[in-house]
């Protein structure tokens, strides 16, 4: 499989880039932020994600989706990185959809997948508990109670948790972890919206003796791990794609700036010190792109070590995007520090995407462990 987009994927990329440039450019993010929009997203935009087929990109056609794969999901994620568009795409279209497709009952799928694909429903994965992503250390518990379970714990960094129509809660059960589909209006669920540094959306969620029926379980009791892992791998690879998009967009803006900004009577891009830093960054971004493409293709192929390719991609794209936004601000000089210029918005988004689903350190650790050292 060549590590480049096919013709169909290229068309999807053009459609996505074109749609977002027109309907959700960075000005859209600014307007949501500056108006303190109650939802933090545009419902109308989410609906049009449904019409364009983005919201249901991986959802099978029988549930109203596009039935495409990880590479196509990555194409959308990269485009969202370029325009910094807040949307329920990560939480609903990737993480929740993947879990529902892989593990949910026919009833659960019928209830939610078509509505996600249509850009109507918003679902959130409630996984992280502390400041760092540590999916192997879940403290939230689910104890058997009545004909169902009683959930207790606290979750954070729950994407779009403040506007979720349903939560997928990861909790510890007797012999493993279990995934629960929870109505956020259930008694005992506390939700605090946490506006993040990038003006994207998340929430803290507390679960106090939250009673759910047995049919709230997704898949098997104690058997949530594989579906969770599958969703995390897809989410991480797409976060890496989004990082690459954001990093590359910041880089392109910076190269433009190097060509137009004049000091000492010439374009600052004529100075070799800046040329070499830009050339280095170009190289790093190419590596990140290749790593992301490799990971997405391996996920689609069901390759045996796809999870490791995903960790390479997330770590590499994270480090590279971090370098890209730092260089971008530095090379823009004073204006790079202003809110008026977009460049700082990229720095904020990249910081959030780096923490999302494990930072470079998390993934380096995972690779080292898998490598036996």
């Amino acid at each position: 499989m060549p590590l480049i987009l096919t013709e169909e994927q290229t068309l999807l990329k053009e459609a996505t880039d074109g749609f977002l440039a027109e309907n959700a450019p960075i000005a859209h993010l600014r307007s949501l932020r500056d108006s303190h929009a109650a939802d933090g997203i545009s419902r109308a935009l989410w609906k049009s994600f449904g019409e364009m087929g983005f919201a249901g990109v991986i959802i099978p056609e029988e549930h109203g989706g596009s039935g495409l794969g990880a590479v196509e999901a990555g194409v959308v994620a990269e485009a969202l990185g370029r325009t910094l568009t807040p949307s329920p795409f990560f939480g609903s279209s990737l993480l929740a959809a993947r879990i529902l497709i892989d593990a949910a009952s026919a009833e659960q799928q019928a209830a939610w997948l078509p509505r996600i694909a249509a850009g109507e429903a918003i679902l959130s994965l409630a996984l992280d508990e502390g400041p760092k992503h540590q999916p192997s250390r879940i403290a939230t518990t689910a104890e058997r109670s009545g004909n169902g379970f009683k959930l207790n714990g606290a979750k954070g960094f729950v994407l779009d948790g403040h506007i979720a129509d349903a939560l997928i809660v990861v909790a510890k059960t007797d012999a493993g972890v279990t995934l629960f589909l929870v109505d956020p209006k259930t008694a005992g669920v506390g939700i605090e919206r946490t506006v993040m540094v990038d003006a994207h959306n998340a929430a803290r969620i507390t679960l106090t003796d939250v009673q759910v029926d047995a049919d709230a379980v997704i898949g098997a009791v104690d058997g949530g791990e594989p579906a969770l892992e599958g969703a995390l791998n897809l989410g991480r690879a797409c976060a890496a794609a989004c990082l690459t998009g954001a990093g590359d967009q910041a880089f392109l803006g910076t190269v433009d700036y190097l060509k137009t900004r004049k000091q000492f009577g010439k374009a600052i891009g004529e100075f070799q010190s800046l040329q070499h830093r830009a050339a280095h960054l170009f190289t790093e971004l190419e590596l990140a792109r290749a790593a992301v493409m490799g990971a997405l293709q391996r996920l689609d192929a069901g390759a045996p070590k796809a999870d490791l390719a995903v960790s390479v991609a997330k770590a590499k794209a994270g480090r590279v995007a971090e370098l890209a936004v730092q260089e971008a601000v530095q090379m823009h000089g004073g204006v790079g520090m202003t809110d008026e210029y977009d460049i700082g918005l990229f720095m904020k988004r990249v910081r959030v995407l780096n923490e999302l689903l494990g930072d470079a350190g998390f993934h380096a650790e995972r690779l080292a462990r898998a490598g036996g050292y």
Partner: protein, 392 residues
């Protein structure tokens, strides 16, 4: 895809049957490479057989056309071959400047006669080539080269000196840049010629390096006669050939790093694991993990650039990116190898250290970011040709 699966199965079976056990597993050091040539040396007879059987199949140059001895494989088939070889840990049957550098230039610029004459013997490892590019006064400014050719009708008489000629003392033939028009602007008076290193007037002198080895030579030409039929491409337009070839060379140097055991294994063997199963040297462990990430991303990037080239989606200047990153990565790899080896890796003469093999390889890699154009030259090329920065 079904065809590729069949190809994968057949290739796997053939390689299993034909790759001798001696030719599997990581190379212990760079000296174990097979270079072929008239005076070829082989670590074992099996290595000779492995080169010959792969050469006969054209799989030392898998993507070259079969009429010139190549394997005639598509890019996707060649990738399958590569992945199967990696899986069974088959060693590269033949390392060759002919395959990595000259061949692609001949395929692009050579006449039919030249291709038929030179390419098959490259594929079979019969002729070992060296590259006559750098001169004492022409390093990063390669186009300033002064080796001159005097026109004698059907041949030239060549005089001058090359330097940093890799393995000139072991090579059978040389591909060489010479000045054929001293009056023209420097890029427009250079020609690309081939000649036999056994021609009277050619002498070589190895240069002792910090590694204690001498992979490079000074090469002298005193009244060397070269037939004009050995001109590649157009007279005085050798710079075009040189640039195309440098792109292949840069891709090659970028990709040479990955021959040994994984760095993590080297470190675990040397230092050991702690109670939790982690390398018992946490800071080094973190650096190795970072290297592994960058190396994995770089491998994919090499593959992607190849795919982009096949699809015609990329400028040849992209080779500078691979050269820059690959050579810097290889230097990092060997810095970590030395840190992992600790004082054991410092022994220069003992049998225990295989006569300082790790240290010598480490020192050798310092040339990676100099040879074939320095890292700084590569960054200049990226800035100019890929980013179009002003004044670059």
């Amino acid at each position: 895809m079904a065809d590729l699966d069949t190809f994968r199965a057949e290739t796997g079976a053939w390689l299993e049957a034909n790759c001798p056990p001696e030719c599997r597993g990581p190379l212990e050091n760079d000296e174990d490479r097979v270079w072929g040539g008239r005076n070829a040396s082989f670590k074992t007879p099996a290595h000779k057989g492995w080169m010959e059987v792969m050469g006969a199949r054209g799989w030392t140059a898998p993507e070259w056309p079969t009429e010139y001895g190549g394997g005639g494989l598509s890019r996707e088939e060649a990738k399958v071959l590569g992945s199967v070889m990696r899986r069974i840990e088959a060693q590269m049957p033949l390392s060759s400047f002919g395959i990595w550098m000259l061949g692609p230039a001949l395929l692009q610029f050579g006449t039919e006669d030249q291709k038929k004459r030179f390419l098959p013997e490259i594929v079979r490892g019969e002729i070992r080539w060296c590259q006559g590019y750098s001169e004492p006064g022409a390093g990063s400014d390669l186009a300033g080269l002064q080796t001159r050719a005097e026109d004698r009708g059907d041949h030239w008489i060549i005089n001058g000196q090359k330097v940093w000629t890799s393995y000139a003392d072991k090579a059978d033939w040389i591909f060489c840049l010479i000045r054929t028009d001293p009056e023209a602007p420097k890029h427009l008076g250079i020609s690309f010629v081939l000649f036999d290193m056994a021609t009277p007037g050619v002498t070589t002198k190895p240069i002792a390096l910090i590694s204690g080895k001498s992979p490079f030579c000074e090469t002298f030409f005193d009244d060397v006669r070269v037939e004009k039929e050995n001109l590649i491409g157009t007279l005085n337009r050798g710079w075009d050939v040189a640039k195309a070839l440098l792109a292949h060379e840069r891709t090659m140097i970028g990709g040479i790093g990955d021959i040994g055991r994984p760095m993590s294994q080297v470190a675990v063997d040397s230092i050991g694991l702690d109670d939790t199963g982690r390398l018992d040297e946490p800071m080094l462990r973190a650096r190795i993990a970072d290297l592994d990430i960058d190396a994995a991303a770089f491998r994919l990037s090499m593959e992607r650039v190849g795919d982009q080239m096949t699809a015609g989606q990329v400028s040849p200047a992209i080779a500078s990116m691979l050269k820059y990153y690959g050579s810097e990565l290889n230097k990092r790899r060997h810095e970590l190898a030395m840190a992992a080896g600790g004082s054991d890796a410092l022994e220069w003469e003992s049998d225990r250290s295989k006569k300082g093999a790790a240290a010598r390889d480490w020192l050798r890699t310092k040339a990676n970011s100099i040879e074939g154009g320095t890292s700084e030259v590569q960054l200049n090329i990226i800035a100019k040709h890929l980013l179009q920065l002003p004044g670059a």
